[in-house]
Symmetry: C2
């Protein structure tokens, strides 16, 4: 590591985070405040988090020796993404390294088939699902659940809408595309949903857990674009139900750190688990300004087994809108207008160059009025992206 223990104040916790994306970058804000030394295993010398931390060795997270060296002398290893091979993490644990979340938990966020199977054991509410290996399997599954369309997903490696297809029939070309993937395919019921919700919780090795207010998230082309906290109009008992589901999953799977449970609010009233993430999550970014303790701070507190901070909301409404790359290359130019228009706006840039559709930042607004707060956040994101010019 860049700093020896003797260079740091006695007792300074060292957290080694695999991956140098924006989640690691935002974790650094919380680490700096708490006097925690964050190391990042970066994909390159100038990736998002490498611009923001003092100690960011470049290395391949798939290489056991690289990860072992990276983990040396850290108090705990945690993650900016879920792509580290499970076996590699098991080996690290066997070496005595604290890995949080551990591989036995993390596999449920890495492999959707494993996740579905495990959640079924304790009857977590889920869409109908089945691993499929052929056109005949797809046909059978569709028949069982009452027909097409259905969803096909790669069990591993998908993110931001990649690795997900809608099949209108067993002969649908998307089904063929899915079967060209090198990993098993999961078929799922295409849920007729009113909206998507997300329940973010944090859990510590001691078993302490806290649940953030349940949020509404809007996805576009499989990418989270807007989050409103709390989910408007969600009845308290429904919100509690979503939180309890997330807390139950965290406990049953032995999650340590942040767990985000993305759910469908189905038109028939069911709250169904869609995806799991075991790391700070896009649906929790609102918590930086919107909650007493941000998801990034609680992730650090959880992996270090420190008591968790309050997840309570600080404002009646907080709205986060992602800033996606558009036609404007210099995103900082837009700050002049956005900051002058709205002195309460909070802008987050990730140190990422603009590419069309790439998440390069987010904006957050909070306030007493839902529509006004949404307008502020949506306006700023659209202006920065370049889709509006006033």
């Amino acid at each position: 590591m860049k700093f020896e223990r003797k260079d740091l104040p006695v007792g300074t916790p060292v957290v080694a985070m695999v991956g140098g994306g924006q989640l690691a970058r935002m974790t650094q804000e919380a680490a700096v405040a708490l006097g925690i030394q964050l190391r990042v295993l970066a994909e390159g010398p100038a990736v998002s988090a490498a611009q923001a931390v003092a100690d960011a060795p470049v290395g391949d997270y798939r290489d056991p020796e690289t990860v072992r060296r990276f983990a040396a002398e850290a108090d705990v290893v945690t993650f900016d993404h879920e792509h580290v091979p499970t076996d590699l993490l098991r080996q690290l644990e066997a070496d005595g390294v604290k890995v949080r979340p551990g591989p036995d938990a993390l596999v449920h966020a890495q492999d959707k088939a494993v996740m579905r199977q495990r959640l079924d054991v304790f009857d977590a509410p889920a869409p109908a699902h089945q691993v499929v290996a052929s056109k005949a399997d797809v046909e059978d599954f569709a028949k069982r659940i009452g027909g097409f369309p259905i969803i096909l997903k790669t069990t591993r490696g998908g993110y931001d809408g990649k690795g997900v297809w809608v099949a209108e029939s067993a002969d649908d070309p998307t089904a063929e595309e899915a079967f060209r993937a090198t990993v098993p395919i999961l078929a799922e019921e295409k849920v007729d949903f009113v909206r998507e919700l997300s329940a973010v919780v944090a859990r510590s090795p001691h078993g302490q857990a806290v649940a953030y207010p349940v949020v509404e998230s809007v996805q576009k082309d499989g990418i989270c674009v807007e989050v409103t906290a709390p989910a408007p109009g969600l009845a308290p008992d429904r919100a509690a139900q979503a939180q309890q589901t997330a807390l139950r999953i965290a406990k049953e799977l032995g999650v340590v750190g942040i767990l985000a449970v993305e759910m469908f609010e189905a038109r028939d009233g069911r709250l169904l688990v869609n995806e799991l993430a075991m790391r700070p999550h896009n649906t929790g970014h609102w918590s930086i300004e919107g909650a007493v303790t941000s998801q990034f701070e609680n992730h650090l507190r959880a992996v270090l087994d420190l008591p968790l901070g309050s997840p309570a909301a600080r404002a009646p409404y907080t709205v986060m809108v992602n800033v996606l790359g558009g036609d404007v290359e210099d995103m900082h130019l837009g700050l002049l207008h956005c900051m002058a228009r709205d002195p309460g706006l909070k802008v987050h840039f990730y140190g990422k160059s603009v590419k069309p559709g790439r998440k390069i930042g987010h904006v957050t607004a909070y306030g007493d009025d839902l529509e006004e707060t949404r307008e502020r956040a949506r306006h700023a994101a659209a202006y920065l992206t370049g889709t509006i010019d006033e």
Copy 2:
């Protein structure tokens, strides 16, 4: 610099901050969020801010060539402390570097005699004062203002109570001690004050300015130990008067960035300017959680000439208490108790080793009830320091 322009997204602002203390460290939290690249000129490889930023060359801020190299390619140079020689900064400006605050403003925070003289020109309210060079001068000054005790201060180089003496007579040994200093000495009226206040403002090169709520600060042995925002019981017109004084000073002196104006609330009703600081200030740390825009973010926005953020308070009361080094060497041990006791507590550690009386961190609590909020913050600071054990 560690990162070339081409490594960073187009338009990324680069801010070069001289000094690697906790103010630079906390500025980094705001810089990371805004996608601003912060470089720090560090006093050593592992000082407070060097642990927290990617680009922290070590160098002597008094050496012109070092500072010139450090400033190269940055958009603006700013400061974690006020010790950079004025002439060196004038030279930088002559080279075309943007220095904010500029040397002509900064000299008023560096030299108390220059500050007093300048403030007199526009009748800013101040204690009686006079530069003194001898015992006879001290005697004359005391006679003029109605007698001893008086305050003696070094005009340059003092901080945290260092370089300040109370003289009970012209023969007081402290007066002799003062005259052993290598810089001129300023004599001031010893103000009979009810309490100390601080008015923090931010000002941009365009002349835009915002004023934070006026806070009450408590000093112990010349060190700021507690800040309450807003100052309890301060009448709105008095608060406005303090803010106007600070805004006037910022404008008259051409300050860019944060200006903190420490004031005495005198028993006779006067609000008198005590000290100026032209950088994020201990009396503004509450703003990290307590205001819509922290002083660190507004300092960055100001020096980059971005529109300033709202300085409005987010809670009825916010109390910050400094954590000073005590007998406990591992400050992180105390976190278990403090975080478990108060899930709303915000802890800030500076990455500094414990030395008795050294500022090694601060805690912030906010809430609706002043006494309860104060108790929370005071308890946590005392527990972490080791002066209480439950």
